[in-house]
Symmetry: C2
Subunit: 226 residues, 2 copies
Amino acid sequence: MGAVKSKRMPRAVREQQMMDAAVRTFGQRGYQAASMDEIADLAGVSKPLVYLYLNSKEDLFTACIRREARALIEAVRGGVRPDDPADRRLWGGLRAFFTHTAQNPDGWAVLHRQARTHGEPFAAEAAAMRKEIVALVTQLIAVAAREAHRDPSLPDREVAGLAEALVGAAESLAAWANATPGVSAKEAAATLMNFAWAGLGGLMEGRAWSPAGGSAQAPAPVSASV
Amino acid sequence: MGAVKSKRMPRAVREQQMMDAAVRTFGQRGYQAASMDEIADLAGVSKPLVYLYLNSKEDLFTACIRREARALIEAVRGGVRPDDPADRRLWGGLRAFFTHTAQNPDGWAVLHRQARTHGEPFAAEAAAMRKEIVALVTQLIAVAAREAHRDPSLPDREVAGLAEALVGAAESLAAWANATPGVSAKEAAATLMNFAWAGLGGLMEGRAWSPAGGSAQAPAPVSASV
């Protein structure tokens, strides 16, 4: 990373490089153990420059949480195609979520572990991100229920609870997938899609969800090979 | 709590009273903000006695995590009746889990929030408890799959992933239920049972899980009024 030492580099680019280095260091070492020396080294800049640009370790960590939260939320939103049927919208969102967390394990560690375990103001930043994801999932489930023309439709509080359950399941599974060698993003997304859409009852009866036919008795259930 | 000041009380009883006070204080104030003065006051004993019996704030917190973890695991195990069919075993475990976390909100806050957010050795204690719960759920799902005589049966890694998803969903929902006025343990358990057994797909098609007939087209789906 010595090449980035050029003095001609615009500030915005350098800041992003510092934050890349910071996310990697915070994600792998943890907030406490991460040193500004190591972050500066990894970014190929001097430590005073990191302080000049990002002020303090606290501010740098907050900036990392915000950037990673924004990126994750955008990835999930981008994966949900509004014109798809309900199950495929969910599948798109889950695929995007697990792909993003697998490709950015340090960013995910910052959000899911570090940001929540070092008090305020970091926990509040992580909570705001989570709230936005829960709202997105809540809306997704509410629209799906409306489309299914259920009468009586699912009560709002039930939808809210289902969204909390789904988000909790996704968080847990992403942490597990990143810590378990050989589990791909597609496999983790498929596991959660089967769980969330077909349910354990459906799986026990061989009704895995399939991208083609919803939770029908599908010959090609969704799996890592899809 | 002045009455507990009697000098005749056996040590074991006094220790439990100190830990009751500690769980309440740690759960409501957080680990950092909780003071040994407040804990001693609440337990109706002198601060030196708390130190004499439980050594330090760190040791007291560790003892609280262990006690609350043990109680939660025993509650869940006690809720699963081995002779029930698979879906009812899960329902029994979920009912026990949500009843326990609703009745012991401070204990749940200690396990789910405090223990995981103040570094080691506390996080390791919480992780060990979680691992035991995941193992219990993994076994439950594996036995259910075996009983369903699925061929090919669910691969081990899929079962492991499903267990992680279910535990994550339960953690998230318990935190939500305890933070949301008016959500009962039964309602939270029902929401998760419907989600985990019937899946969103089943719910959209009106196939909620019911205690009587699995995920059949049931006239009386499980709800808070069951």
